[in-house]
Symmetry: C2
Subunit: 444 residues, 2 copies
């Protein structure tokens, strides 16, 4: 939150160097380089760190220095830091704070980290409705001198601490001196409840283009503000989580290079093993068709091509739907619209790919005589199977996120690899069923 | 940017209803519902729309009403709207603006939409360094009365319009009245060049936790500010683009339900067809091993299982690396660190999956006598191939984003389906090579 840095300091470069090499340094080296910085630079550097890194630093520095570092933090940032600590350390960390901040931090800790209540800052600019503009500005100057972190909007509370209006600082500045705050305040408010999920909160910010949103409890009392810069971090985190899930891994929860090798394998191998075991169904399915493969080995040759066309179209559809859901563009009740669109898209794309597959067989036959006298039937089998598998893959991939959300799971768990695995098994069944129908009496 | 809405209006519900149903409405219905809103609500609603939707609305409303809607917009928003119009319409839209705004918008249009210059707002709070705090606050109130959109930081320019310092409004408010701005301003500045890419800009915001960053040209002159709320939109867009690319589709560039069916198929089938044609290499590879399959059909049965294990581990690795690159956690020069980590992870995960595959063969042999007298060799073939394919898939998936970035392409193009396809072909070769070695003289 601090823009102020010491330009005149001679080791300005050192801070930038440290920023640059931070993610590659071992914990001991981080501490050493950090403690080497001149104090004002070290403070700015500390404030820019993620709460995870702040926690690591506070833990690493000598106990007698910890207090001043903890007290640099705004209540919401201190709460994030404390949240990252084990239960046994929390008390000790909280004890480092001053009385007022400790009370505020403990109130924030009651909320989950990913809810509005856990993101909000309990210190915000507020005035009464009946003061005039000049008085309001003087009063804000007084609040700023105490511990105010941000001033974008000034919130108007009544005697009961109920939120009754808001005025932007711009509007306050622009208003004639003798108008009262009540005259210029807006009373139609966009507010969040303390337990609003951070993803929903980020949609609220995006929809209303606000700098800050007040958090109001069930009694209409204002508890704090969430500012848009906290939402920037939320959006990055949420997108990272979704992308990692789509890629078929547990969310890492920390920067790539900071996760230990063992932890990395642990987070990744679980999903891979689950997918591998599910994919064994393809082996079972294939075993059913061993007789067909023995009679017409040419069928085996096309298996990877056909099942991957289903997997790819499924990955694509599931990714589009997951993202559209995350952005609020598509909701649960839109499933019927989506199913019709995806059926049509899947069929269209299947026909294009099917035609390519059909031509491939004819071309190879013309060039190399690869497929014998029944080449036309083989071409029809391949073309037809691709149409079926792509249509089915698209449909399954698009519906899976709806199913997952319907039963209360995260739609992003419908990862591309998961859909591909699901579609592989059914793809084999579709392929061999079509082959049996078309090739019966000739190759089979 | 407006928090002000008319609470007393009777049709407050109508605006919320419209907001709710907007994405499902046809263009004609949108216009009708929009024009039905009381003016103040319609204005707020308009300001909350995306620039794409704002453009559609301006185009749809009767020509004589267009001016007042265009003039509601801040210069950067007006520029975004005009950017979305065809070349033939731009002139007409620009003509609706007042002279000053038109000049500012045209200056903004010189920058690409996804650069700092295209995101910035040319109206910002500024003062001279030698005024005192009281004078500065009065001067800001005067600026606010004119056309200032945001006040977080007050920028200090010298006589040459060069940026020399910055003071946050909080600091200005908190300072004693008689100090000069020079005394309290910070001179170590975080700035952006007009041509800085929006992704880099968003990392700058995240690293320094700032509300706004000044855009400064090569001569040190300040051109405008980019505010963090614009970055929220950027982050959502960038994450959507990356997710869609990872899922193996062109970025849609518009909300899912607003893309026409034909456009949707066009954007998706290109990648699918490219993948399908690449995947045909598996058919060619398989054809090489037709003799082996004829002799040991059991090999064909495991093909989907083995190649999918490579595809899944590759998708996982590529997704993790792409995201880590987008967040700036991993850079091009880190490739050597990544390759070592991924080799170790891949081998570790391969051994786990290989052991599962090995056990599967032994189990089925014990239960169903599926694999004949040479079952142990079959189990070794499957186990060994899975180790090889998973290790290779992980390595290939993690290195592909580096290769793409090295040659100047977007690493996110290394989509999960692309990696899976790449690994499928090599997976078949690995599998049959291992099978030939282990089974020579028995099954083969």
């Amino acid at each position: 939150m601090s823009l102020r840095r010491e330009a005149e300091s001679e080791s300005g470069l050192a801070a930038d160097d440290l920023r640059e090499s931070w993610r590659l340094l071992a914990p001991e080296d981080r501490l050493e380089a950090f403690l080497d910085l001149p104090r004002p630079e070290a403070e700015d550097f500390f404030l820019e760190l993620s709460s995870r890194d702040q926690y690591e630093m506070v833990r690493a520095i000598p106990p007698e220095q910890r207090r001043s570092w903890m007290r640099l933090l705004a209540p919401d940032d201190a709460a994030d830091l404390v949240q990252g600590a084990g239960d046994d350390e929390r008390e000790a960390l909280l004890a480092l704070l001053d009385e007022q901040t400790r009370r505020e931090v403990m109130a924030l800790l009651a909320y989950a980290e990913d809810e509005a209540g856990g993101l909000m800052n309990p210190r915000y600019a507020n005035v009464r409705a009946d003061v005039n503009v000049d008085e309001a500005i003087s009063y804000l100057r007084k609040q700023a001198r105490e511990k105010l972190e941000n001033v974008y909007y000034v919130y108007v509370n009544d005697a009961d601490r109920k939120l009754v209006g808001v005025v932007s600082l711009r509007e306050l500045f622009a208003a004639p001196s003798d108008r009262t705050v009540r005259d210029i305040m807006s009373t139609d408010l966009v507010t969040a409840r303390p337990d609003m999920d951070q993803e929903e909160l980020s949609r609220l910010f995006a929809a209303h283009d606000l700098q800050a949103i007040p958090v109001v409890d069930e009694n209409g009392r204002m508890r704090g503000i969430v500012t848009v810069d906290d939402i920037v971090d939320v959006l990055r985190e949420e997108a990272t989580e979704d992308i990692q899930k789509i890629g078929g891994t547990e969310a890492l929860g920390a920067p790539y290079l900071q996760v230990s090798l063992l932890e990395m394998v642990r987070k990744r191998v679980g999903w891979l093993a689950a997918l591998f075991i599910s994919e064994m169904l393809t082996t079972t399915a294939m075993a059913h068709f061993e007789a067909e493969i023995t009679r017409a080995v040419v069928l085996a040759v096309f298996i990877p091509l056909i099942i991957s066309s289903g997997g790819n179209s499924g990955s694509q559809a599931t990714t589009l739907v997951i993202r559209a859901m995350a952005l609020g563009e598509v909701r649960l009740r839109d499933w019927w619209i989506v199913i019709r669109r995806e059926l049509a898209s899947g069929l269209g794309m299947g026909l294009v790919l099917g035609a390519i597959g059909f031509s491939r067989v004819l071309l190879w036959q013309a060039l190399f005589k690869s497929y014998g006298p029944h080449f036309l039937l083989v071409a029809m089998t391949i073309g037809g199977s691709v149409v079926g598998v792509v249509t089915w893959g698209t449909l399954a991939g698009s519906m899976l996120p709806f199913l997952l959300r319907r039963v209360g799971l995260d739609p992003a768990s419908a990862s591309a690899p998961f859909v591909a695995t699901l579609v592989d098994v059914t793809g084999i069944v579709i392929y061999f069923s079509i082959a049996s129908t078309i090739l019966k009496g000739t190759l089979l």
